[in-house]
């Protein structure tokens, strides 16, 4: 089903934020909408957005490729995006990341075999005073987890796994 058919109310609400003659501005919120269910944006969804906004699918693809929070491939249900930038690294983020890799049994950029968590290193998330920290991205949005320890993180992963099992 097309995006406009599946989410008529949301599409209308998004378009209402911008002048009708500049509806292209809606491409970013529409991409988030397209990412909601699967956590990534399909080719069909890109075409839907192009049709809604009267732009080419290439234009839409260029936006997906430019911004790091849009994804065009299926990965883990949750993306655990750990900040390893300078201020966090001065407070132990690299060691935290290493230890997470060891505990999850994966490398940075990989997904756990059960498909629940993809571990990623990202740049500054404006939480430099609460390192180590990460954000959890799923189709539903983003949540910050700050002042984290490896134990607390693994507890969260267990909870996510249980929740994930229900979905399956």
């Amino acid at each position: 089903m097309s995006l406009a058919k599946k989410y008529p109310k949301e599409v209308k609400q998004i378009l209402s934020k911008y002048p009708p003659e500049h509806k292209r501005s809606a491409v970013m919120p529409l991409l988030y909408l397209a990412q909601r269910e699967e956590g990534y944006i399909t080719k069909d969804a890109m075409q839907d957005i192009a049709d809604i906004l009267d732009i080419t699918v290439t234009d839409v693809g260029a936006i997906v490729g430019f911004y790091t929070l849009y994804h065009d491939k299926k990965e883990g249900k949750y993306r655990m995006q750990v900040c390893t930038d300078l201020p966090c690294a001065l407070r132990g983020a690299d060691q935290f990341m290493e230890s997470l890799c060891a505990n999850l049994g994966i490398k940075v950029g990989e997904t756990t075999p059960d498909g629940v968590v993809t571990l990623e290193a990202v740049t500054c998330l404006a939480a430099c005073d609460r390192a180590p920290m990460f954000q959890l991205q799923s189709g539903d949005g983003l949540t910050y987890y700050e002042d984290m320890t490896v134990d607390k993180t693994m507890e969260l992963v267990r909870a996510l796994r249980e929740a994930g099992a229900e979905v399956k």
Partner: protein, 412 residues
Amino acid sequence: MSYVLLRHRDIADIDQIDVYEKNGGFEAFRQTVTRMKPGEVTDVVKASGLRGRGGAGFPTGVKWSFIDNKSWPHYVVANADESEPGTFKDREIMEGNPLQFLEGVAIASYAVGANAAYVYLRGEFWQIAEFLDKKIAEMEQAGYLGDKLFGTDYSLKIYTHLGAGAYICGEETAMLESLEGKRGQPRIRPPFPAVHGLYGKPTVVNNVETLTNLPPIITHGADWYKTMGTADSAGVKIFSLSGRVRKPGNFELPFGTTFRQLIYEYGGGVQDGRPVKAIMPAGASSSFIVADDKVLDTQMDYATVRTLGADLGSASVIVIDDTVSIDWVINKTIHFFKHESCGKCTPCREGTYWMSRLIDRLQDGARSNADVDLLLNVAKQMQNKCLCPLGEFSTMAVVTGIERFPQDFRKA
């Protein structure tokens, strides 16, 4: 002293509209719309000496006065793309004291004749955007946003817009491109946004902290504002303190506070009692300041920090102690900028790439002085050649790191 910006630390529930109203909320906006001409608002802000808090430090009222009154409509865009490594102040304002920020957006909009304003938040501030949407709806309900405000002909709508993970969108012309639904790549200037901004119309882009200063300036006046801070840098600033300090966090202090006060009095000193080796006062974009007693006793304001060979920028003070080697620090900053370069201009796109190759090779053990010279050379070749400040910023730590801490790079 009570807080001017971080008022949620003094007043519980100030994010609630009734509590905010009880504490003087929206009186400044009411006063501007019902009793002041737009130009008068600009004059007060000019007289207050308020300078842009996003990093450039440009006088806010002067920026507004450039708005082109021959072309309409006008727009205001609030820059909430806070992404500089070491900066986390706008986030606290929007989470804790959102209504004062939104009132600031409203005052700026009235001053430049805008009937629509956008708050551009970095994509990671997803939950903050939802929160602001709720606050905006409450303001509409209470009659502070919408048509014919306070019985006048002035109308205003505020909308939030989420970015999606791109540091470059904090640069104001890249932000406008992004808001127009394009890749966030900076425009060639001039023309500046005040003439050719959002949708080609005159636009003012102001940082969240800048805008949050407006309600108290209108309420208490320009002279009151200038009683705080220094002659060069009026008012208060939120210093984001991070790195190897005991108590990192945001500290709202008058300009002119010294590095020593910030790090030791407010930040609790350095972890494990180590000495401060270097300070980066403007996040990853910063030059390194070699810390000594004289430096620590230096006042933090725009002009004085410049005498130390650095810029105060957004006042994101990263503290580095003597356990940290500067080559490791610039490895972090170079990879940050390489990742965030938008790819539009060659010096930045290629320069950050080659700097990353060189710093990796230097750190892989094959340390050679020739590579240090080459890295310095690449950085200097980039300077003054990039389309926007990002490329320039990427070289600051590299050049000053190698020049001011040669022992961390060169073999004897």
